[in-house]
């Protein structure tokens, strides 16, 4: 059986050629394969090949008990660990009618915002590497190391925390955690200013990214973009404000938006989001109540039959989880709606007409994570 190439070159005389940005490439954020049809340096057409990292997560979930699934949700997107945990625990808690105590709610917000800062720092580092700045990665990772140590003291793991449980947390935060967070908050604003000045406001980068790959508000909504990718197009869509969950309604924060929807705006939005996350963490620490961190839940997790769809705001966008339960210990179906999948669907719209060097910058500004796309 002959496989037909999705991209073809029409005639031998044209200057077009096919460039395969293969699954192994320093800049495709994982195993993404892009088949580019190029004319000189300009991209004419692109076909993304997905599925290199498909692990059958959703099928695996059907064979595991509910509490066994929590570590797997970490690994669907290893950078937005906490929002993934949260969306899943929220779904099960809704089906079982569990009320999470106040202190646990506040702690969940603190963890989620710390995770957002960590994810954006890693985005900053890898975006810098993509465009050729080899120094920001070290500064960003130094911050990340301190945050990872904090999370390790709280959850036991630096990276794939596996932290949330149905009804709250297994144990309260350790003694030095709040002090550690306060120390970080004291310098995060200055640091974000410095990182912005080093890379984002650098004239070489602004020349490379301003006006590159703008996407209009209507097109972005059509493609289903979410997170900073759509907020760059002057669209203030954020699950924390649209369908608030947890104790987010109690906090006072803004949704940063960009003006033109081009690559630079998407980058700037992420830097501003780090500042907003720091503001939320400050308010949460000030208002943190005492109390239990775990609700009373039954020993065997058997949610009532039914279905529920929950959404949270991850660093990359809108994470959704659709859970169908049939009353047994194992879920009947879990479907995860991942922001990177929708974000990468807009790749043809964004890349066509720009140069090879822009491809990498545009992909970087979308901040896609491949395990999330393929699950």
């Amino acid at each position: 059986m002959e496989t037909k190439m999705p991209i073809e070159i029409q005639s031998r005389d044209s200057d077009e050629y096919i460039l395969n940005m293969g699954p192994q490439h320093p800049s495709t954020h994982g195993v993404l394969r892009l088949m580019l049809k190029m004319d000189g340096e300009v991209v004419k057409d692109v076909v993304p090949y997905l599925g290199y990292m498909h692990r059958g997560m959703e099928k695996m979930f059907e064979n595991k008990k509910y509490e066994q699934i929590i570590p797997y949700t970490d690994r669907t997107d290893y950078l937005s660990v906490i929002p993934n945990n949260w969306v899943y625990c929220m779904a099960v808690e809704k089906l079982m009618g569990i009320q999470v105590p106040e202190r646990a709610q506040y702690l969940r917000v603190i963890m989620a915002e710390i995770n957002r800062i960590m994810s954006h720092l890693l985005w900053y580092a890898s975006f810098g590497m993509d465009v050729g700045a080899l120094t920001p990665i070290w500064y960003a990772f130094k911050e990340r190391e301190e945050l990872m140590s904090l999370m390790e003291s709280a959850s036991g793991a630096r990276f794939l925390h596996n932290y949330f449980r149905f009804g709250g947390f297994k144990a309260d935060i350790p003694k030095g955690f709040i002090d550690g967070v306060k120390k970080l908050l004291a310098r995060i604003d200055d640091d974000v200013d410095e990182y912005e000045a080093l890379l984002i406001n650098n004239v070489i980068l602004t020349n490379r990214t301003k006006g590159v790959a703008p996407i209009s508000r209507e097109k972005a909504i059509e493609y289903g973009l979410s997170g900073p990718s759509i907020r760059g197009s002057n669209t203030a869509i954020d699950v924390r404000k649209d369908e608030p969950y947890g104790v987010y309604p109690k906090f006072n924060f803004e949704i940063p938006v960009g003006k033109n929807g081009d690559t630079w705006d998407r980058c700037k939005v992420r830097m501003d989001e780090m500042r907003q996350s720091a503001a939320i963490i400050r308010q949460a620490i000030d208002a943190l109540p005492a109390g239990d961190v775990m609700a009373k839940i039954p020993k065997i997790i058997k949610p009532a039959p039914g279905e529920v769809y929950t959404r949270v705001e991850g660093p990359r966008g809108d994470i959704g989880l659709y859970l169908v339960s049939d009353g047994t210990e194992k879920p009947y179906r879990i479907k995860m709606r991942k922001p990177s999948f929708s974000n990468i669907s807009a790749i043809k719209e964004l890349i066509v007409g720009y140069k090879v060097a822009d491809v990498v910058a545009i992909l970087g500004s979308l901040d896609v994570i491949i395990p999330e796309i393929d699950r």
Binding site: Y17, T135, Y139, N202
Partner: protein, 353 residues
């Protein structure tokens, strides 16, 4: 001759020592009734070997310096395990490169594939014959010294294009072509700046240019020229922020992708020797060459050259990469007019003074 006088001369008046070696060897040769042409050839061969050996060692040192310097800028240590403070790291790396398998991809033009790194290295090493390392320490003080430098550095384009083409790899081809365009575009502002310097010095000879800066260094007269020369040289040696041909994140090493083992080592050495080359040329043209107070001349030369090398490294590790069309725009629309203006102003001022 007094022993201490000789020692002092070795450090401070090397031109006397060199002249003495020449006259003595010619006298000895003539006493053996042999034609002096052969002696000249032998001397030149010996000088060439000395220069190449020195450059190879220097390249090793620069690589180590870059790794430590960049590490300090990036909140880390750099190599510090092998030898004292990591100084033997480069020897370990060199041995590794020498014993690596030399992979030649199939369907390449094997001869061109092999020659490309040789041409690039040649283009770099051949220029050092006219660089004045110290008082009288110059392999060949050609009458057309500066012109020779500008001409030979252009040879590297052939090597890069050859490497990109012979690798039978689209990425390499793109890298090679980008590099050729880049080098050729940035040579022109570079030449114009050097022309301004030549106008002021009145001669193409490197020794004369250094002598003309005995009162004041030319950087004080031509600050714009210095900055422009650094930028243009940065682009000519394919270094960040102009390192598109080896853009690691886009083209996986560009035209160097398919090279391994000793051929890669030659490209690598050529790149770092190039850094030293443009710094040495900048030192000679703008910073007064080997002149300076009480330290020996060649020590001054190295201090100044490494100062410029540090500036180039600093630039590399701070800025992101420039896109290829911005690069061409920058060369033709920004650097070229400024360089022309610089030349005109220099000429006018010289006429009036």
């Amino acid at each position: 001759m007094n022993f201490w006088q000789v020692v002092k001369d070795i450090f401070y008046n090397t031109d006397k020592i060199v002249a003495w070696i020449y006259t003595q060897s010619h006298a000895l040769w003539a006493s053996w009734h042999l034609p002096s042409v052969i002696l000249d050839i032998i001397i030149q061969l010996v000088v060439a070997v000395i220069v190449v050996a020195f450059l190879a060692l220097n390249a090793l040192w620069i690589i180590y310096y870059e790794r430590r310097f960049s590490a300090k800028m990036q909140l880390r240590y750099g190599p510090n395990r092998v030898g004292w403070q990591g100084s033997l790291q480069l020897i370990a790396d060199t041995i590794k490169l020498l014993i690596k398998e030399d992979i030649v991809p199939t369907k390449t033009d094997k001869n061109v594939f092999t020659i490309a790194p040789i041409i690039v290295m040649l283009a770099t090493f051949a220029v050092f014959l006219v660089i004045p390392f110290g008082k009288g320490i110059i392999a060949a003080d050609l009458n057309i010294g500066v012109l020779y430098i500008l001409a030979i550095t252009g040879l590297a384009v052939i090597g890069i294009l050859a490497g990109g083409w012979a690798s039978n790899n689209k990425y390499s081809l793109i890298g090679g072509m980008r590099s050729a365009a880049q080098i050729v575009s940035y040579e022109i502002p570079s030449v114009l700046i050097v022309l301004s310097i030549i106008l002021m010095a009145g001669s193409l000879k490197m020794g004369d240019i250094v002598a003309a800066q005995s009162k004041t260094w030319y950087i004080l007269f031509q600050p714009v020229g210095f900055v422009l020369f650094l930028i243009a040289s940065n682009a000519e040696i394919n270094r960040a922020p102009f390192d598109l041909p080896e853009a690691e994140s886009e083209l996986v090493s560009g035209f160097i992708t398919e090279y391994s083992g000793m051929k890669f080592a030659m490209f690598f050495l050529a790149e770092y020797t190039n850094i030293f080359l443009v710094s040495a040329v900048a030192t000679t043209l703008f910073l007064g060459g080997w002149q300076g107070p009480w330290l020996p001349p060649f020590v001054w030369f190295f201090i100044k050259t490494y100062f410029v090398v540090s500036i180039l490294m600093w630039i590399r590790w701070t800025f992101p990469r420039i896109r290829v069309d911005h690069l061409m725009e920058f060369a033709w629309k920004v650097l070229l007019p400024i360089a022309l203006l610089n030349l005109i102003v220099t000429a006018v001022v010289l006429k009036m003074v």
